[in-house]
Symmetry: C2
Subunit: 237 residues, 2 copies
Amino acid sequence: MTPPQFNSWQSIQDEVLRRIHAREWPPGTVIPNEADLAQDFGCARATVNRALRALADAGILERRRKAGTRVALHPVSRATVDIPLIRQEITARGLVYAYRHLSRRIASPPRDVAATLCAGTPCEGLHVTALHLASDAPFVFEDRWISLTTAPAAAAQGFETLSANEWLISTIPYTHGDIRFSAEVAPESIAELLGTSPGAPIFVVERTTWDHTRAITTVRLNYAPGYSITTGIGTPS
Amino acid sequence: MTPPQFNSWQSIQDEVLRRIHAREWPPGTVIPNEADLAQDFGCARATVNRALRALADAGILERRRKAGTRVALHPVSRATVDIPLIRQEITARGLVYAYRHLSRRIASPPRDVAATLCAGTPCEGLHVTALHLASDAPFVFEDRWISLTTAPAAAAQGFETLSANEWLISTIPYTHGDIRFSAEVAPESIAELLGTSPGAPIFVVERTTWDHTRAITTVRLNYAPGYSITTGIGTPS
DNA sequence: GATGCAATTATGTCTATACATATTAATCTG
DNA sequence: CAGATTAATATGTATAGACATAATTGCATC
């Protein structure tokens, strides 16, 4: 009659997952509170808390004070995507990285960029375009605007040999950002740069980074056809 | 001379982030150990641990036993992408969800699908195709194979009114999966289904889910032009 | 019945202490 | 000096107890 001893928070996580999978706790169920579970499992409440918190982070449980813990109704799978430097992305595939600077000028950004970069008010931005190559093959075309309000030091940079991204992350730290993945077809200008034909499918990543409330840079990465992002989903166990 | 009191693990996280951003601890630095930091901050070691562990989860710190904690050399930003049910994805936009079943047959999957679904050995699979509509407009074309070895119960399902995904997640729980995002151009068959023209850009999500070592299903979601995935990056603070 | 206040309750977090574990550094040995 | 053994160390985790906080529930009042 001795309850099986769950000593580690991972074993508790496994047991909770087992009960969810076995439909002992179907989606929507409010599961027993931490104190009761701790007694059931023969461990401290903090240990149960650790396990349940991890599952809540993974989107499997939903927790609210006083209301308790329930099994998520819609098991939203959550995928964590690593966004490495393009240099790393290329060298990790065993290819040779090369950077080719294309253009650089100070100008007023177009309206859509200005909306995020300058919060509507007119401002000066640094427009930089460049090509990243993997073993001499075009890999991604970068089209970037840098806010000279937030990052005035960028005005002194040529970005002829060092990619703007690498300079930025080692100089202007950011607090947060947003990212958008989409699919587009290559217009003639981009197709030419990427060494492909117009109409080719382009994987597009648009990213804006912020330092607190001020936008630093917004970039549009146009990946050559064949590019894909792969990652895992599910319990990190 | 009283050290500023950091009472919560979040305030400690903020302070550590501040020191990293202020280049007091540039990338690569091995930061003081938990015990020392706890004394500096005037709190318990467990509190420091909580803060540092969260930053390590976010990819900002790298921790190894005995070796200590260092600021990540390459601040790999990590984006967490929620993968909701298509129904939710559509209703969340304020549109009306509709499901249209297209085909269903039991067959041997093509080689590339068999490789993941049956681990190479020949096997039977259930092939289901369907269209998800958002306020009568085609939203995504689903092309799915279900393993009848892992999920034999699927053979009894028609999938005429209930989407395969919704049936699966409420019937066959999965332990983990992998996911791939890419861009393609619509072939004629898919363009027609999505109500667009051949050559239109299609955002493609390919997903395989597993129950431990056995594959359950592999699905290819072809999103109508204009679709994008948006999420945030940076410190979850 | 509607409304506002208070009691209750479950999670959230902090503390102090202890032990576990991985990994490096030091030391001993052939 | 090479290789194996041992000690030292930083993180990882468990525990019991306490208090904080949010949110619901129920009660009292209008």
